[in-house]
């Protein structure tokens, strides 16, 4: 707390000092406006707006808006964005000026056009650290399992981010669990980002405009999770022409359509994907026995530009996984089982420009995640039905202000109000034979609120500080929590292309996820902080260097971090998620108290991360390396001793390369070859090493001779056994051809090129697979999920 107070004092002092400084400067004017993609009118977040002579500049916010206030003078302004041709403007600035800029994508330029100015955006002068932007076009170029492009799987390739296990899309960021990541799609929190037991994520990149991952040094506008913020913005839709994209792969088909509603004023985008494994297997099934599984995603967005100062955006996501079986026995007798889970989000946003310096966004957001499992039997007109469901529903209001009084300051402030409705369990139980018809539902309501302010301050030519404070508040079941969360990022320019950075952040998390540690099953149950389970809390410091190799358009980032967490939750030993959510008994579901199965402890994570990245050009990609340690300690686990977290990973390496062998032209195919190679230290697991007789003592007559003989396992210490290292190489080849009215892409990819048998889990088996008996030799065996898997997919863009 003492450190927290010092940090807050430091922040206020710096803020006061710098505001006092800029208020004494001479007369200035403001240049403001939006940066858009030429043709589609798509707003571009994160575009660079620089004034080279003054050695100053800014970047557009999430809505493509920029504002820069500088002294009156003749100026040159340079606007650039990765993948787009930069533009320069010269004019005499003697009054406030509105400047809406359209950038043309590089791919629209003729090959012979020489782009004289590089589009490279520097990392060394960005005050934020531990933040990585992924160009969306790279997501589509990186090879993927069964050709299903997956944003979260690409993010797993970044330093500081680990994956849980083979094929799993869960993110483990700087030692944190997958529940500690704030995943936002157009301001809406996505609570379960996975399809098919975690093998695929909801996001394939079709509908996305920008993706940004923050692993530490969180600006104060973000909160509510301990480990990371993954912010994704959906595309707005083309305001000029109707066009789309369709694709067919081994697992799913997809369609994207976008176009104007009112030309240059309003547009829409719809993106849909559905798997068809259920349809393909239908001919192999009998009418008496049917079983199937599918998932789908639907993204939609529309926007309307009311006038120069007001814009409206309406966006939503709907996705669901469904697994079902149906058995028919004749005479109307049936047995039906189903399991279904999915997210729905909706965001209504209003951008309002008060003036050239002050921008606001108001968001009204809905988010829902639900899981349901049920069985219904009709036999001789007697119905038996048992349905269990759980979920979380949010309705939130968010207001953000973006004030840019001078190039020395970018001030952001805002407020957030979230109404959570948790449904830990809802049970419908009908049994005509027993005369039972019950419908029971437990719900918990809570409020999660926050206010924040932050300032991106430039002090002199060498120092930048992003300092902020967030005040978070949570109330549920009469438990009130208020916490101060100071955040500071600081940068010192050692040279024009080399900087040293440091950050400090305090985070609180008021919602807990009860999830099993192994598989990414959909039975995740979100529950609020209570008087027993306190909010999770962490603080993190990080320091490092950022270097730009501008000529080569390559950035280098080296960071070290240390993070401490408390009140992180885990299942108690022996407790299972099956007891928590999957129980088939109405009575047990009713009596179940999830708090009894959970325990809270502490976590420590520290390490170093290395990233060498090239975002654009003929050859792009990155090299990432993470050296890390993650330990946990719970009074009720492992006899109170510290242990390595399951996903503690000493070494994690990822190599990603995208080589555009040939650009597509009117008469020539475009060819892109891409490849990834990953290596990770094996998971830290607990293994049985011996068995022994371990009697339960019972007093009284029922004890017999007081011993009930029974075997139990003797284990290694928790997390003391390391699985074999994980490594894998994937390759992809994209061949694109231009036709009159459309472009066609055929993609061939190979997952796990050298057929590495990575362990999914271990078990103890017999050396001879068919052996049975006490004298056979027992050995360690493993199950591997994905051997070498080739795939092909076909896309057209029109």
């Amino acid at each position: 707390m003492k450190n927290t107070n010092r940090t807050i004092f430091f922040f206020i002092t710096v803020l006061f000092w710098s505001i006092a400084g800029f208020s004494q400067e001479k007369v200035k004017h403001t240049i403001s406006g939006y940066v858009k993609e030429k043709g589609s009118g798509e707003l571009l977040p994160g575009a660079s707006v620089a004034i080279p002579r003054l050695k100053t500049g800014t970047v557009t916010n999430n809505y493509g808006f920029f504002s820069i206030t500088i002294p009156s003078d003749s100026i040159e302004i340079l606007v650039s964005y990765v993948g787009y041709s930069p533009k320069a403007f010269r004019f005499n600035l003697n009054e406030d000026k509105e400047l809406n800029i359209e950038l043309e994508t590089n791919k629209n330029l003729k090959e012979l056009v020489v782009v004289s100015t590089k589009t490279y955006q520097k990392i060394s002068d960005n005050s934020r650290m531990s933040t990585i932007e992924i160009p969306v076009h790279q997501i589509k170029e990186i090879p993927a399992l069964l050709g299903e492009k997956d944003v979260l799987k690409v993010i797993q390739l970044l330093p500081g981010v680990q994956k849980g296990g083979e094929g799993n899309s869960g993110l483990y960021v700087r030692g944190g669990g997958p529940d500690q990541n704030l995943i936002m799609l157009d301001d809406a929190i996505v609570y379960n980002a996975f399809h098919l037991f975690g093998f695929f994520s909801l996001f394939n990149g079709d509908a996305l405009k920008s993706i940004e991952l923050t692993k530490g040094g969180f600006p104060s506008r973000y909160g509510g999770r301990l480990s990371s913020v993954l912010e994704m913005q959906m595309k707005d839709g083309d305001k000029e022409t109707l066009h789309g994209e369709a694709g067919i792969g081994l697992l799913s088909s997809r369609l994207v359509l976008e176009g104007p509603i009112i030309k240059k004023k309003s547009s829409f985008l719809v993106s849909a994907r559905r798997t068809y494994f259920d349809i393909l297997t239908l001919p192999f099934q009998t009418s008496g026995e049917q079983v199937g599984y599918y998932f789908y995603d639907l993204n939609a967005k529309a926007n309307y530009e009311i006038d120069d100062k007001n814009k409206l955006f309406l966006s939503g996501y709907l996705g669901r996984d469904k697994f079902y079986f149906k058995s028919s026995y004749g005479n109307g007798n049936t047995d039906i089982g189903k399991m279904s889970w999915g997210n729905a989000t909706g965001t209504l946003r209003w951008n309002h420009l008060f003036n050239g310096r002050l921008f606001s966004n108001t968001s009204l957001v809905f988010s829902n995640y639900d899981f349901g499992i049920g069985q219904e039997t009709d036999f001789d007109n007697q119905k038996y039905k048992l349905e269990y469901s759980s979920g979380i529903r949010d309705l939130s209001l968010k207001y953000d202000l973006d004030y840019r009084p001078s190039p020395m300051h970018t001030i952001k402030a805002g407020a957030l109000f979230i109404r959570h409705t948790f449904t830990p369990s809802a049970v419908v139980y009908v049994d005509n034979f027993a005369g039972i018809n019950e419908n029971k539902k437990s719900q918990i309501g809570s409020w999660e609120n926050a206010i924040y302010a932050e300032d991106d301050i430039k002090i002199g030519q060498r120092t930048k500080i992003n300092a902020g404070l967030r005040v978070s508040h949570f109330v549920a079941n009469k438990n009130n929590y208020v916490n101060l969360e100071p955040r500071v990022n600081a940068l010192y320019m050692i040279k024009s292309d080399l900087s040293a950075k440091a950050s400090y952040a305090v985070m609180n998390q008021y919602v807990h996820l009860l999830t099993n540690t192994g598989l990414g099953l959909p039975t995740d149950l979100w529950v609020p902080a209570t008087d027993i389970l306190k909010p999770q809390n962490s603080w993190q410091i990080a320091g490092g260097f950022a270097k730009d190799f501008i000529d080569k358009e390559v950035l280098l980032s080296i960071e070290g971090y240390y993070k401490e967490s408390k009140n992180v939750i885990s299942y108690k030993e022996g407790a299972s998620f099956l007891e928590v959510t999957g129980d088939a008994s109405a009575e047990q579901s009713e009596n179940f108290n999830w708090e009894d199965n959970i325990t809270a402890g502490r976590g420590w994570s520290y390490g170093a991360e290395f990233l060498l990245q090239k975002k654009a050009g003929k050859f792009s990609g990155w090299i990432g390396y993470t050296l890390s340690w993650t330990q946990l300690q719970y009074d009720e686990l492992n006899f109170g001793k510290k242990f390595w977290a399951r996903y503690d990973r000493r070494h994690d390496i990822s190599l990603v390369g995208i080589w555009k062998i040939r650009e597509m032209t009117d008469d020539r195919n475009g060819i892109t070859l891409s490849g990834t190679w990953v290596y990770g230290t094996g998971n830290a697991i607990t293994m049985p090493i011996a068995e022994y007789n371990s009697p339960v003592h019972n007093p009284g007559i029922s004890s017999g001779n007081n011993f009930f003989g029974n075997y139990v396992s003797q284990y290694t210490g928790r997390g003391e056994f390391r699985m074999a290292p994980y490594h894998r190489m994937d390759l992809g080849l994209r061949i694109t051809r231009k036709f009159n009215k459309y472009n066609r892409t055929v993609e061939l990819s190979v997952y796990n090129l050298y057929n590495r048998f990575n362990p999914f889990f271990y078990y103890i088996g017999y050396e001879d697979s068919f052996g049975f008996g006490t004298s056979q030799k027992r050995v360690l065996k493993q199950v591997t999920l994905f051997p070498l898997i080739p795939s092909i997919s076909y896309h057209i863009k029109f």
Partner: protein
């Protein structure tokens, strides 16, 4: 087209088909055979009993599924006053028992040491001084939501406070055979500590099915309250929650206080009331 369709199915099936194989790139964890010693001592128990066996490493060709009892070890119980007794193996009970007047007394500390084949295992326990008495028992019979007969039994007692106390409430239903021989089965068992409730009234609530055939005069329930040492409490609490290994839950490592081997040497006091619901 049909062939193409079949190829699609084959590829998808191949993609999701898991592969099961021997692990050759890492060594499985190693373990040696160890002595396993168990004893639950009590002044209220009819005898002093200790059980000794060998553990079996899971990897290799060791025998699993059969308890490897050790019958010819030297097992000695001693207290801090220098008194000791050598326990004798009873092949019927497959356990070592005292043959003398050696007694377990409240408040005293006992050590059991087992020696066999060059290995030594020993554990120590201090018997709780107090046998906390059951204060009252509330019984409530009712009909459950599915029309079944149920019973709720609330066992009440006063925690003495001023120290850490560990309890186990245990209820068994006792029936008689036609020949009058009694047999019993466990109805409820709960482990409770007085942490946060020092010196307060404590209780344990048991809810169970209750079969009532009208001859309840011959059916009784024994309600036990055990005041235990920490070793008894921690070991048995974890042990009853052990259901073997499954991929959905973290393993439950068993509590141990035996040095040089595995197992627990522990103690308890016991009070009992009989009820006829």
């Amino acid at each position: 087209m049909k062939n193409l369709f079949r190829i699609f199915i084959l590829i998808i099936s191949f993609g999701f088909g898991s592969c099961d194989r021997l692990v050759t790139n890492i060594d499985p964890p190693k373990a040696e055979k160890e002595l396993v010693l168990f004893a639950f001592l009590s002044p209220e128990a009819s005898n002093i009993t200790a059980e000794l066996s060998y553990s079996s490493p899971v990897f290799g060709t060791n025998n699993l599924g059969e308890i490897d009892f050790i019958s010819n070890a030297i097992v000695i119980i001693s207290n801090t006053e220098g008194n000791s007794d050598t326990l004798k193996y009873d092949s019927t009970k497959k356990a070592y028992e005292t043959q003398s007047a050696f007694k377990i007394e409240p408040g005293k500390t006992y050590k059991i040491r087992a020696s066999f084949d060059g290995k030594n295992a020993e554990g120590t326990t201090t018997v709780p001084n107090l046998a906390v008495e059951i204060d009252t028992i509330d019984v409530f019979k009712f009909i459950g939501s599915e029309g079944e007969s149920k019973i709720k039994i609330k066992t009440n007692w006063d925690d003495p406070g001023n120290d850490k106390f560990y309890y186990r409430s245990f209820i068994e239903q006792v029936n008689s055979t036609g020949s009058g021989e009694k047999y019993a089965y466990e109805v409820c068992s709960e482990f409770i500590s007085n942490s946060g409730k020092e010196g307060k009234k404590m209780n344990s609530i048991c809810e169970s099915y209750y079969y009532d055939d009208g001859s309840s005069s011959t059916r009784t329930m024994n309600v036990y309250l055990l005041t235990t040492d920490i070793h008894y409490y921690e070991y048995n609490r974890r042990r009853v929650n052990y259901y073997g290994d499954d991929p959905f839950s973290e393993p439950v490592p068993q509590y141990m206080n035996v040095k040089g081997g595995l197992g627990v040497v522990s103690s308890y006091r016991m009070t009992k009331l009989e009820i006829r619901p």
